[in-house]
Amino acid sequence: MNKPLHEQSLKELSDALQSKQISSTELTESYLNRIESYNDALNAYTHINKEITLAQAKAADKTIANGNGHILTGIPLGHKDIFCTTNMPTTCSSKMLENFHATYNATVIERTQGIGMPTLGKLNMDEFAMGSANENSAWGRVANPWNQNHCPGGSSGGSAAAVAARIAPAATGTDTGGSIRQPAAFTGITGIKPTYGRISRYGMIAFASSLDQAGPMTQSAYDAAMLLNTMCGQDPNDSTSSNIAVPDFTAGINDSIEGVKIGLPEEYFLKGLDPECDLKIQDAIKLLQKKGAKIIPIHLENLKYAIPTYYLLAPIECASNLARFDGVHYGYREENISNITDMYELSRENSFGDEVKRRILIGTFASSGSYSAEYYQKALQAKSVIRNDYRKAFSEVDVILTPTTTSTAFETANKALTPQEMYLSDIYTVTVNLAGLPAISIPVGFAKNGLPVGAQLISNRFCEDIILRIAHCFQSETGWHTQYSDDFK
């Protein structure tokens, strides 16, 4: 094969490894070399340990040689620093966990390392997964490989930048309100958030437990399907993980999309959407139509409740989940204190970033006393209204197509968005989490500013197969997903 290793898909790498044309050690070394060359420009990885990674690669080579290899054995992965790992620190990009070493692996880590996928390193993110630009990291902002003055999106910005710059063949991410799909769209890669409950949350540091879901971030939908096969499945350690059988997601991925009903919700294509993004998405729709999909206009009229609902529920759960970071048992502790209250207050004050504090304050306020009825209970009602919108829609269509984001990636090098602007930009992604649905973002072209545009496909619960099929069909006809910035060639 003439293609350099970093341009090859997981399937191609798998074939090369299984037929022993390359070894995992060679492949992993080539990626470690690329990381060494390019990571400084991006700040995607926050922790690398070549020795550990290469030892895993060597072990993978042995597994393959012994004939015990899995289809993905030997292919290295980058992991968002939200997944607990025993062999590398886990910081969630927070000063609070600066020196935290977990004594347990997240189930996602167990499953991927378990089949011999070496860990390339831990990837930068917004602190505790709160943010949409990966500028809220204690370890500094991440740059977008397409234009380093722009952000890669967030919160899985490090994962997106690493895959987009081809310094990871694929990476894990997590998505609470769009944290996989939005950075995937901003960096021109493929990112899928599966149905809530598909992938175990054990060992994945919680932001908003009822919305958090892990997923793969890859060059293509096919790669995503391969990784999902390994990542999904019930876990006895996570009571919210689903017992619904996990299909082979690559099995029907090449099937035709003839007759598939794709709904276009009118509310998602109104004036908030950047016209250039709209144009690229319209092109994608035309292509899918050409491939036999039926395009049906629909309504998701309660989109207007999306942001207020999400920004109540997520902070309320966040305030609760982050209460454990109190400086008593682990994590950052302010030493210069005279009583326990000071210890709590100063440890949290001096180690959490502004966005994390903002959400803890909002969440604590909105769940306190009588405000709970006024905000929390109302938000729960709005959530069920939004779920009903989708239920109704899926009685008419198989999938829903929307823009992933309102614009291309924000410029963050020299300016910052206000929290409100940042929150509002999540409008197209958050309802999917509120409804627990699977959704994928795929690249559909570039705007004039050279930045990628993404489209989102949403399906009914546990129907990841159909959005993967449509995404794969689109990627079989287009080359947007194979492009990456010249700066990294």
């Binding site: 939200i82 054990y202 540091i205 759960e317 609760s320 209460a323 008593v328 929390y376």
Partner: protein, 473 residues
């Protein structure tokens, strides 16, 4: 003045593992040796409900005549405290496992009912340890995550006697069911009593005070006596009673203010998103109830019908394992009275001496039955039987083996005893002569000689009969 009291009882359940993790349950040991990453609230860890905990709660529900909720859920109760590793406690709020119910208890021969408001499951906190090192406090999370069932009564108790009688009955029920070890010193059975006074039954409720830190029935009694007097004095002198939590101080025998119960305390309860609600179906309830032992009241009635005293019947009925021994003994044809006397007498004495309870005695009910059968059959005397029991306890051998090995067999046959008696008569011609001439009290001399010769193993009744026969011949 009428006393109005309601009680919250925390019972520590006897599951093998913690409420939401697989760490073992225990007491003592090195700090944090039973604390896993889940118990420590490490980031990313998640709770998983221990089904055994649900089963035990359902078993108690059956004895409390309570409704088992079909749908239960868990909530988070938020507060910051060093021994609370997650910053919240997992408890139940809207859908507790048990609702309603009552427990009967007896005061001065009168049967009364205490109504239960609800009972909910929750996890215990750890313990702060102070002063083990200068200017340092430690946290021990061995207890963190142990399952508790909190039983909340209605405010329907109106005297100290009622409170104590109800608590003792509840205590005997939970230990009978073996869902709690009942150890009040170690905190396995903890009570908080909310008490207030009012002018009379129809007067509005007074300001209540919550009493804590009472780790024996005696201290509960003393704390209540003090507190009720204190409230009395306040009312009479016109001093307002403050709604607060007071703890009992054993040293001063007084209750002391702990902290004002801020009415604004806000725990920000909400449903725990890590734990989906659980439907408890009929078959689960049936399965839990199938583990229920025979009800102590059923046993009590049975024992009374066998002619045992009320006190003895009660003592055996509410000690499940002693009751089990009793059943085995009577099934083996040991008379009820004999069984009861031995269980409450020598066997209980040995158990107390060795700090054991009937569930872990070194000798089985069958072994006791064998011993008492030997007693019934006259193979051993009552005194010898106690001796044999002692050896059985320490040597773990059957009664027959010990009787045989140690030659403790009672001599009861004529052919064993008669030759010895004839020999004594022959060797004591003078005493024989005097006895035969009417000196009756010399009979005791011959009994003594015979017992000496047989090393006390002669069956006294048989000996008497044979001796009379031999002397009169």
């Amino acid at each position: 003045m009428q006393i109005v009291a309601g009680i919250e009882i925390h019972i520590q359940l006897t599951t093998k593992t913690k409420a939401f993790s697989s760490s073992p349950i225990g007491f003592g040991g090195l700090p944090n040796e039973r604390a896993s990453e889940i118990d420590m609230g490490m980031p990313g860890t998640l709770p998983v409900v221990n089904k055994e905990m649900l089963k035990q709660a359902i078993m108690l529900g059956s004895y409390l005549n309570a409704d088992v909720s079909q749908l239960i859920s868990f909530a988070r109760k938020h507060y910051f405290y060093p021994d609370l590793p997650k910053g919240y406690q997992i408890t139940q709020d809207d859908n507790p496992i048990l609702k309603g119910g009552y427990l009967t208890y007896e005061v001065n021969g009168e049967i009364k009912k205490c109504y239960i408001h609800h009972a909910h499951l929750e996890e215990d906190a750890g313990k702060s340890v102070h002063g083990y090192k200068a200017n340092t406090s430690g946290v021990d999370l061995n207890r963190a995550g142990q399952p508790l069932l909190e039983i909340v009564t209605e405010p329907c108790l109106h005297s100290i006697e009622d409170i104590i009688a109800f608590l003792k009955r509840l205590h005997s029920i939970v230990t009978y069911l073996e869902i709690c070890d009942g150890n009040m010193q170690e905190g396995s059975f903890r009570c908080d009593v909310n008490v207030s006074l009012r002018e009379n039954e129809s007067a509005p409720l007074g300001t209540r005070v919550e009493l804590k830190n009472m780790n024996s029935f005696k201290f509960i009694q003393k704390a209540l006596e003090f507190e009720i007097d204190r409230q009395h004095d306040c009312i009479e002198s016109g001093t307002p009673i403050i709604q607060e939590t007071r703890q009992y101080n054993e040293a001063t025998n007084k209750t002391e203010s702990m902290r004002g119960k801020e009415t604004s305390e806000d725990y920000r309860y909400f449903k725990d998103p890590d734990l989906p609600s659980i439907w408890i179906n009929e078959s689960f309830i049936e399965k839990a109830k199938s583990g229920l032992p025979e009800h102590p009241e059923t046993r009590l009635a049975h024992y009374l019908s066998l002619g045992l005293s009320k006190i003895d019947s009660n003592n055996i009925a509410y000690n499940k394992h002693m009751g089990n021994y009793f059943s085995v003994l009577t099934k083996n044809k040991i008379p009820a009275k004999t069984a009861s006397n031995w269980l409450l007498g020598p066997i209980s004495e040995l158990a107390n001496k060795h700090g054991l309870i009937f569930s872990n005695l070194p000798i089985s009910a069958e072994q006791v039955a064998e011993l008492l059968q030997a007693l019934q059959d006259g193979i051993v005397s009552s005194k010898m039987a106690k001796e044999v029991l002692g050896y059985m306890w320490s040597e773990n051998k059957s009664a027959a083996t010990i009787i045989e090995d140690r030659g403790l067999k009672q001599l009861s046959s004529e052919e064993d005893i008669m030759p010895i008696l004839l020999n004594i008569i022959q060797n004591n011609p003078k005493q024989t002569e005097e006895y035969r001439n009417g000196k009756d009290k010399l009979f005791g001399f011959f009994v003594g000689q015979a017992m000496k010769e047989t090393k006390g193993q002669a069956n006294p009744e048989v000996l008497n009969t044979l001796l009379k026969k031999a002397l009169n011949d």
